[in-house]
Subunit: 280 residues, 2 copies
């Protein structure tokens, strides 16, 4: 299915970013990937047909929903065509032949260093040094043949640079997963849809959300996610993210959304797509 | 009210972290603050009565709910006693007398540099250099009297170090707010409660959430937040965060929670407290 991709897949970040790993996990290693500086750029490259698809983080198991990308899903004329869940793991990486007792310095992006705080502080006399990116730290200790230091980065960076993974999964909280969505133009289809994501908004009146959920409950449609968020600049107004276990090809979904539109200010269907791994 | 605090207020991070700013915004500048390395440490210092209160980020307007702190609220025997919302703003800070055209280098934590990506890339020929923390960068350019560089940090760091704010609010997305909760032991009260936060879990069966919300709707209790999250290791089980506009001192709240307990696997009341600023 994924071998017919002719144009690159866009992601935000530098090469070896977790978003690029998610793109390769989903589409395979043979795709061309297109690094973008911002999330907006990912949407722009898809809308302008420069990229075939875009891959964007939407939810992390430790830090929650990435509201910025929900906002952009409202603003741009694209749809969610798939999702994929990636385990976010950090590794202690060195030049081949280096052992744990040789290490005096650990280089990485501060966020990666912080994710591995417990492990690093258990190594006595070792200094953690902040760098601009994780994979860049691997490249640096390789290029400069530094034998008394390690880098913290993804397995993928270690393998691509031919470096040694001295210790896997050194992050403090191992249950660190990110759900990524794949966005494409409206015509794109990637498999059989069994899940639909929508955004809707309404004034906060007692029982309003209860009425909104009734349009699904009354039709026995199972909910997979619900999240409210205050609307900026509009006191007492809320925006809701909702995913349900059905495709917009089904009549009951069409009926539910028509019913929802009767009782809300705004509804946008973000896409129907094959569900990825259920548990984040 | 806040002047009776005898013990320190705990927060996660180094001095000048946004969590410390939130603590000072809420309790005033005269408090002793206690920096902790992890969120757990904040809970521990409160439980062990080393700290009088703890201040923890729970939700950000761009990046969502901090699930880790919800998990710890379930694990620890503390309650939410207050909340405060802080604007997360970054500033371009220099030694007094430095002007924009003097700057060749900008120092800060990579996360702060990334938040200000557009501004920094608009300054031609200027190099962004990653450091371990934002306030530390201000201190460095001050101590070393560097006149051709700037740091990116909070207003508070600039003022405390007697430095010049050359440009305010240079972040790409100005609508960046974090909601912080104040935690304390069960006896602590900080003002008149009008909001209650709870966590509950249930098996995903069609209409189950609809039934849960009915316990509030049937009693005309207004919801302020609802968020679902898959339970790790338990497929098809969900945990819900819910806040409503009433205190557990009210009979209707007591009735609603008793009703909710009939139809869920687990309910924990995280606290009733005075609501802070409503819009995140």
């Amino acid at each position: 299915m994924h071998t017919l991709i002719k144009k690159p897949v866009a992601f935000q970040g530098a090469h070896y970013a977790f978003s690029e790993m998610a793109a390769r996990q989903f589409f395979g290693n043979e795709i061309d990937s297109l690094p973008c500086r911002t999330f907006e750029e990912v949407f722009e490259t898809v809308v302008q047909d420069i990229a075939e698809f875009g891959v964007l983080p939407i939810e992390n198991s430790l830090t929650g929903s990435i509201h910025r990308n929900y906002d952009l899903l409202i603003d741009y004329d694209v749809k969610i065509v798939a999702e994929t869940v990636l385990r976010i793991a950090q590794n202690l990486i060195t030049n081949p032949g280096v052992s744990l007792s040789d290490i005096n310095t650990i280089y990485s992006h501060p966020q990666a260093l912080e994710q591995c705080r417990r492990f690093i502080s258990s190594m006595e006399g070792v200094e953690a040094v902040a760098t601009y990116d994780t994979a860049g730290s691997v490249k640096m200790i390789r290029d400069e043949k530094i034998m008394d230091a390690a880098a913290v980065a993804s397995r993928w960076a270690a393998e691509d640079y031919g470096m040694q993974i001295l210790k896997e999964e050194i992050e403090d909280y191992p249950h660190n997963f990110t759900r990524f969505i794949v966005i494409g133009s409206k015509e794109k289809v990637l498999g059989s849809a069994d899940k639909t994501s929508i955004v809707f908004s309404m004034k906060s009146i007692p029982g309003a959300l209860f009425k909104c959920l009734s349009v699904f409950a009354l039709r026995d449609i199972d909910l997979l996610k619900i999240e409210s968020r205050p609307m900026r600049g509009k006191p007492f107004s809320y925006i809701f993210y909702l995913s349900f276990a059905a495709s917009m090809q089904e009549q009951s979904s069409i009926n539910a959304i028509r019913h929802l539109e009767e009782i809300t200010d705004f509804v946008k269907i973000l896409g129907s797509y094959p569900s990825g791994q259920l548990d984040l």
